[in-house]
Subunit: 257 residues, 2 copies
């Protein structure tokens, strides 16, 4: 980075540009550099790495002041990152931070989360990227500890960098005093009993997604659910290469059969 | 599996229940067992592992005949799998097949693909799962080779099983005679020059997602892009654990700092 330039930091989320979590994050991260925010114009929870392949996307300038520019976007969290890097920013950001999400994105939730979708996208595009989530879904949650830990990890990334193809997923428990940071693995598990069946006003059946998480590895002190339930902020390095490399050799005998 | 029961096979896709690809797949797979199809009621390309967390989902019975039941669903590909397993099927399927997608889902496309989103979901829910895609986007593509290879891999899965947490991504080149099956890795790369900027009829700027894939590892004979461009069907084992395990130890020193 040229010394006469401030660091450029791209911020996005999946709860929308008006959510408390992203606005607390912006204030916390502002001292670290020039901030550009490109975030969905409303809630995009559970959007994973979805892209708008069938509809066009619109951008709106929400705010521009010294050191901070905010856009809203009609697309998905991944669209926001792609638009920022491809169309809006003059150079590649030094850091991307996605969040702070209202609700945790630990364990298998990395697969469904729009917050993590945006984080993975930053990583794919070669930007050191961090997703931050607080274990509290409420709109007026207290983000003090999540901002503190998010900023601390952001500073470490700016100082040390991240290897290509790897980004970070930080989840912070909703308690007044977090015990510390714990580098963790993605907890094995799945969601069960996932739907509430209801009748709509016309008497037709509709299904609402709900469910509960089943932890398949609750005693493992290495995983992120263990860290969260014991008062630690859990930091999981994620990779965009999804290949199960350990299975390549084992499957080779299928080639000839 | 009890000997007096036929195998139960769940089929879905992201191009919608009326696409040619899924209907060719159904006919190809039918001899292998009892088929239940739950697929989106229209195109859901690029939906990744998105879930409908903000809207209810509706199901419609499209067809029921000997050995084949077809539902359409208003949700995402992942919603289809969740609804099938949680609400519709009396037991866990012996196999899930997602596809056949119109267009390849090789390399980094696994992150954005609804076809692969559904495949990963089957895997998360403990079902041996396979995604199948043909390297041809056209609505009337010739699926002969893709059906042949998809069926062959499906039979291998039913015979040998798959380890927990791993599913398979099969991409088939659009050529009259595929050379064979090649077990491959996910090609490193990303999409660039991603948007076309246009004016809508009111003169406002809109952005359409487009772009081109940049292959960062074109000489690597192990990866799926190499296999496809050399006339092979590429089979990549994917894992739902996204942890970058090789980085855990290296990051530990951040815990105390």
């Amino acid at each position: 980075m040229p010394k006469n330039k401030k660091r450029l930091i791209l911020i996005t989320n999946d709860d929308g540009v008006h959510a408390k979590g992203i606005n607390e994050l912006i204030e916390g991260i502002r001292p670290l550099g020039e901030i550009v925010v490109i975030a969905p114009d409303g809630a995009r929870s559970g959007m994973s790495s979805a892209i708008s392949s069938l509809t066009p996307i619109r951008l709106n300038l929400v705010k521009k002041e010294e050191g901070l520019t905010v856009y809203s976007c009609t697309g998905t969290p991944v669209d926001c990152v792609k638009l920022g890097v491809n169309e809006l920013l003059e150079r590649k950001p030094d850091l991307l931070v996605s969040g702070i999400n209202h609700g945790s994105n630990s364990a298998i939730c990395v697969i469904y989360s729009g917050t993590i979708g945006a984080t993975l996208e930053g990583c794919i595009l070669g930007i050191p990227s961090l997703g931050v989530s607080l274990e509290d879904h409420s709109a007026d949650a207290d983000f003090t500890q999540a901002v503190k830990y998010g900023k601390s990890v952001a500073e470490k990334i700016l100082k040390d960098g991240l290897p290509k193809g790897v980004c970070l997923n930080l989840n912070v428990p909703s308690i007044p005093e977090v015990k510390g940071l714990k580098v963790s693995t993605q907890t094995k598990g799945y969601w069960a009993k996932e739907f509430q069946r209801m009748q709509d006003p016309m008497g037709k059946t509709v299904y609402w997604l709900t469910g509960q998480f089943t932890n398949e590895d609750p005693e493992n002190e290495q995983n992120d659910e263990w860290a969260l339930s014991h008062g630690y902020a859990a930091l999981v390095p994620l990779q965009v290469d999804m290949t199960a490399h350990h299975l390549i050799e084992q499957l080779k005998y299928w080639e000839g059969s």
